[in-house]
């Protein structure tokens, strides 16, 4: 057997097993984390975005069809459901810090949630985006594991939704300090809550790194927004489509 032939056989074997997909996914995320730490947690160097770009480039380069990659990576993907359930813990911890603030928080959540949908869908529509894109804009301000569940229910692409959700989180983490400073927002709990609604998971981890109270309120906002949106978005979507 020639050497070239055996390399092809090894490749055929590797690409047929879930090992390759699992390895490149975890390795790419590890590289993302390393870069993120090296840049002192700059939101532009988001580890999720880096991992997506790396894995997408690798499978394009080795000409592996996405379906083959996903067959292996589905073991990681499956855990999204369990991760969604475990969001109950930060929400429960946040509930005890409500302290009679539930009315302003609930009003802020509903207003912010509606503006995020109406804003994104209409700006995209005005600039001529097609319906598969505007559809995926509906759940994009919801934390990605819940957003993808909603996307499946309303029949839009969970992939586009995940991409818009991750981008929204990165943009929110970058822009939030400027927006909140421009508005003269000083209370940490109010700043954190607004970040949690606008920038879900990525914004929440940013809020935690700035101030613990901001982080608690951000995770509360993210969780409540996820639960309310899972009920409201299918209704809103069928109303307008």
């Amino acid at each position: 057997m020639s050497e070239k032939h055996s390399i092809v056989e090894i490749w055929v074997y590797l690409s047929g097993s879930p090992l390759f997909a699992l390895f490149i996914t975890l390795a790419a995320y590890q590289i993302g984390l390393t870069i993120y730490k090296a840049t002192k947690q700059n939101p532009l160097a988001n580890p999720v975005a880096i991992a997506i770009i790396l894995v997408a480039s690798i499978i394009q380069f080795v000409e592996m069809p996405y379906s083959t990659y996903f067959e292996g990576a589905q073991f990681i993907h499956f855990l999204l459901g369990s991760a969604t359930v475990s969001l109950a813990i930060p929400i429960y911890r946040g509930l005890s810090s409500l302290k009679g603030r539930s009315l302003p928080l609930l009003a802020s959540l509903i207003a912010g949630g509606l503006v995020s949908i109406v804003g994104a869908v209409n700006i995209a529509k005005l600039l001529g985006a097609d319906s598969s894109i505007t559809g995926a804009m509906y759940p994009k301000s919801v934390t990605a594991p819940i957003a993808m569940g909603i996307a499946e229910r309303i029949g839009v692409s969970p992939t586009l939704t995940a991409i818009f959700a991750v981008t929204t989180g990165i943009l929110g983490a970058i822009l939030a300090p400027f927006i909140l400073n421009a508005l003269g927002m000083k209370a940490w709990w109010q700043r954190g809550f607004a970040i949690g609604i606008g920038a879900h998971g990525i914004g929440t981890s940013r809020a935690f790194s700035i101030h613990p109270e901001a982080g608690t309120y951000a995770s509360l906002a993210m969780g409540m927004n996820g639960v309310i949106s899972a009920v409201a978005i299918p209704i809103l979507y069928h109303l307008f489509n």
């Binding site: 369990s82 359930v85 929400i91 509930l95 995209a124 600039l127 927006i179 508005l183 809550f193």
Partner: protein, 117 residues
């Protein structure tokens, strides 16, 4: 750690069951999340093992989006064709959402606070 994972998977399964037979409009994991909050409120506390698994999930949540989001390779031409609309919609809606949420929460919470103090 195993007991924490068992608890999470139990509530996830309950959520899937409720979603399949009672509330098909809600994703199973979201129902599981709500059931778990109700359970924690009733029990008035989180046990250590559950907290450990949940914190592990939150710490590496980002990793779990990667497999689905790599599907971006299937949408590249469509994303390129709509790039301006997508970027404007995402940036515009992030600014509007954070500003609206912040203004509403501050406007509604400032008045009663001043009366109380």
């Amino acid at each position: 750690m195993i007991s924490g994972l068992v608890q999470i998977l139990l509530f996830q399964s309950l959520g899937e069951l409720v979603s399949k037979f009672v509330l098909p409009t809600l994703p199973g994991p979201v129902i599981g999340l709500v059931l778990l909050i109700v359970w924690l409120v009733l029990r008035k506390g989180i046990n250590h093992e559950l907290a450990m698994v949940a914190d592990g999930f939150s710490q590496y949540l980002g990793l779990l989006f990667v497999p689905a989001a790599v599907g971006v390779v299937l949408f590249l031409p469509q994303l390129k064709a709509n790039a301006l609309a997508i970027v404007s919609a995402l940036v515009g809606s992030v600014i509007l959402t954070i500003a609206t949420s912040a203004i509403v929460v501050r406007f509604l919470s400032s008045k009663p606070k001043e009366v109380n103090q």
